[in-house]
């Protein structure tokens, strides 16, 4: 459901088919991270997702009430063939122009930004 929704939002924002797939994957990875790390695999946790398109920038914010994420998990080294996991955040950073992890009160925030090509910075 989230994938279909993200595809449609990205389409409305004018992103190419490849960009739509990439952004959808980045959001999916962010959601997986929340489930795995904030909610420790529990499917019961609530995640709020908001998307704002403004001036050629699509900002997606995921907010959860799970445990604070260990900052060490957020800066994994580049992937190599030896390591099995840990590519989710790497993919998010490869795809999006900005990826920020924040703690606001009792909530974790993941802020993803993608600029339209002409404005990419």
């Amino acid at each position: 459901m989230v994938r279909a929704m993200m595809q449609e939002i990205c389409r409305q924002c004018g992103f190419s088919e490849m960009e739509r797939s990439e952004i959808t994957l980045a959001v999916d990875e962010a959601l997986s991270n929340v489930i795995k790390h904030s909610y420790k695999g529990s499917p019961e946790g609530v995640v709020w997702l908001s998307c704002v398109a403004d001036d050629g920038c699509l900002e997606i914010v995921l907010r959860d009430q799970g445990e604070a994420i260990d900052p060490k998990c957020l800066e994994p080294p580049p992937p190599d063939e030896i390591r099995i996991g840990g590519r989710g955040i790497f993919l998010m950073r490869e795809i999006m122009d900005e990826v920020r992890f924040e703690r606001e009160g009792e909530q974790n925030l993941v802020r993803l930004r993608k600029y339209a090509k002409a404005q990419a910075r």
Partner: protein
């Protein structure tokens, strides 16, 4: 509720072709991982060919399953070949710098002939 992934395995001696259909993601990747590991671990397969023609979406947990399959194959001196990749899964392997790490063929027949 429809399954996220369908896995059909055709075994011929020490070679197996694993036909996968659906999205390989956080929910479905453990099933794929288990199927691959079973082929090496319990069935002693020397060549496992993953037919990904029916896969249009793979995330990092799916990639992790593939890497684990490759590692298991290497450990046993066996082969692990990805075949018939669609554009989106291939792009994810490119983003994760893994296209050179895996043996990748255009078709299953090509993988069978290696």
């Amino acid at each position: 509720m429809a399954k996220d992934i369908d896995i059909n395995i055709v075994r011929n001696g020490a070679c197996s072709v694993v036909h996968v259909e659906g999205d390989i993601d956080l929910k479905s990747s453990p099933e794929l991982r288990a199927a691959i590991m079973d082929l090496y671990d319990k069935r002693g397969q020397e060549r496992v060919i993953l037919d990904l023609a029916g896969v249009n979406y793979i995330d990092s947990s799916g990639v992790a399953s593939l890497v684990e399959g490759l590692q298991e194959a290497k450990k046993r001196g066996a082969r692990f070949i990805l075949s018939s990749l669609n554009d989106a899964p291939r792009h994810v392997l490119e983003l994760t710098r893994l296209t050179k790490v895996f043996e990748i063929t255009k078709t299953v027949d090509e993988a069978l002939g290696l």
